[in-house]
Symmetry: C2
Subunit: 343 residues, 2 copies
């Protein structure tokens, strides 16, 4: 569909604009060594590329910038899987250098490094605990009225919630109660806990414990997991350095959007596994229409755990970011699998 020359010109324009953030003109293009034809020829090609919808002008006599369709094409067809810079490799590896133990810490550090490396904003979702299996339930009474329910999963994730004790319950009952829960529920994935409690455990409890139901509903309520997986951010303010956001309305909208965790959660979470690129309006949110979002998923063995994402301007270093995310998500998956698979 596009001639080789058009491809070449298009690619150079995109690369140049990604680097400089300035519209690219025919004259400056003609001076590049990889381009051998005159500025007039380039102008003709550029006009064609614009007609095809790959380029845009900011005003009648300006140079060209890539359109969203252009970026999409660039990402889909012009991005050769590029070798990652040795420095970048080192930086990513440094995440795993210390023998970090908790998943969350690892994931948090990943977010930090990613944002420093790219100078964009990084967002990491996870790790998902939905499919974690229950390791232990504990109940710690605080006083006559309240107690804490604690659950621990096989990956070391701990969740806790305070609840009211039914009046008049005694410690022996609580202990029995917990023992029954542990007997019946250990090994059950968190997402099935709630239904399992009512379907299978309630009956057993009823036979052993007076007034079990008040407590059971308190507990079941407390354990209404999955708790939203947490989001971790890195470099929230990095976008302030991007020239396209030297505009108070834009930056305010964007930062406000980022602060709004529930929305971000939905946006990140809806991405399918593997690498994913959403460009500009594809994000479906007006605050992000000058942004691109690249996501990658990570997993333990084949079980998808979470998502790493980079949010940058549409004029983003797609190639490098994609390589980075690919590399990091693979490494993260490997590390986590090694840590938690070897039960």
């Amino acid at each position: 569909m596009l001639s080789d020359r058009q491809l070449l010109i298009f690619q150079v324009i995109v690369d140049d604009f990604i680097r400089s953030a300035q519209p690219v003109g025919s004259r400056s293009l003609s001076k590049k060594e990889e381009i051998q034809f005159s500025s007039a020829t380039i102008r003709n090609e550029m006009a064609d590329l614009e007609e095809l919808g790959f380029l845009e002008k900011t005003h009648t006599s300006s140079g060209r910038i890539p359109s969203e369709k252009g970026y999409r094409f660039y990402v889909d067809h012009l991005l050769s899987p590029q070798q990652l810079d040795a420095k970048d490799v080192d930086s990513v590896r440094s995440i795993f250098a210390e023998r970090i133990f908790e998943m969350e810490k690892l994931v948090q550090k990943s977010a930090k490094i990613l944002s420093e490396l790219t100078n964009y904003t990084s967002i990491v979702l996870g790790p998902a605990v939905r499919e974690n299996k229950l390791r232990r339930i504990q109940i710690v009474p605080l006083n006559n009225e309240a107690a804490i329910a604690i659950i621990v999963t096989d990956t070391g994730y701990v969740e806790n919630k305070m609840f009211h004790l039914p009046p008049g319950i005694d410690t022996g009952d609580i202990e029995k109660f917990v023992n029954i829960l542990n007997e019946r529920l250990t090994g059950v994935p968190l997402e099935e806990l709630n239904s399992k409690i009512y379907k299978e455990v309630a009956f057993v409890l009823s036979q052993h414990i007076r007034s079990y139901d008040a407590m059971l509903s308190s507990i079941a309520d407390s354990l209404k997991l999955p708790v939203n997986e947490r989001l971790f951010f890195g470099g929230k303010t990095n976008m302030l350095s991007q020239p396209e956001f030297h505009d108070f309305v834009k930056i305010k909208n964007l930062l406000t959007m980022i602060e709004h965790e529930e929305d971000m959660y939905d946006i990140i979470r809806q991405n399918p596994s593997g690498i994913n690129v959403k460009i500009g309006k594809e994000n479906g949110v007006s605050a992000m229409e000058d942004c691109s979002l690249i996501t990658a998923t990570y997993s333990i063995a084949s079980e998808q755990l979470g998502t790493i994402a980079i949010l940058g301007p549409t004029r983003m270093e797609y190639s490098r970011v994609i390589s980075l995310l690919q590399f990091l998500s693979t490494d993260l998956s490997t590390a986590l699998t090694k840590l938690y698979q070897s039960k």
Copy 2:
């Protein structure tokens, strides 16, 4: 030291500037109804106030704005304890409307409401767990190599940490170990845990458990509390709407500073109990030299728990914010005392 007329003029200037963010001129002042003298008189007084260091000009022929010294004087001497708006009272009360249980939730909601009410940034530190008393230690083994240590305090605070199990330890030993810890350490304030473990518990353990020391040091290490109390923020991006921050360098520095949790932690934490106002350079941080920080502490009974703070431009609604913080911190203290004092 200052005449009544000077006080009046000064107060009106500050109030006006706080409202409008515009330098205040003599003519516009003379038109206010509370001011009965001519603009020329006002000019003379303003010149004197400037000489005394309470006012500044932005350029030779501009109106006046309050200097930092001026704000300091205003806060220290001109602020009458003002009645809080009925709306504000309602909003603050709404924090306690739902019967919230966990301290952290309460504190988080306070941060949110405060920032919405003021359109400044709110920062809440706490609640401190240093003096919380240990209620229970649990150890949950995950596999042969790792286990989770969980501690629960009398206020329902839960902290957990993963640690390595010494090779070859058996479950019976772990159980004994935990029982001894609980016997000896229940009721001990978190901040004393570490020393107590080594001084009093180590010996007992040594008599009952083989290879106790490897595990003890893992655990003690894990429990190296107090974990920094957490910071909660509200309205991080609110400062973007303040006209004094319509400057990319300033806003970037400020937001970056805010993101840097450790620094913020120190800044908030160092404030003594009660209401505290830091104006501009008094904050000692260049990123905050156009800001004022107002802090208030909250407590359970007489034990100080944490700090609520509002970060705004130096041109801040001091009177209203101080009233708000005073009111909220009192209410928060009362609510928490009621919840947790009645053990």
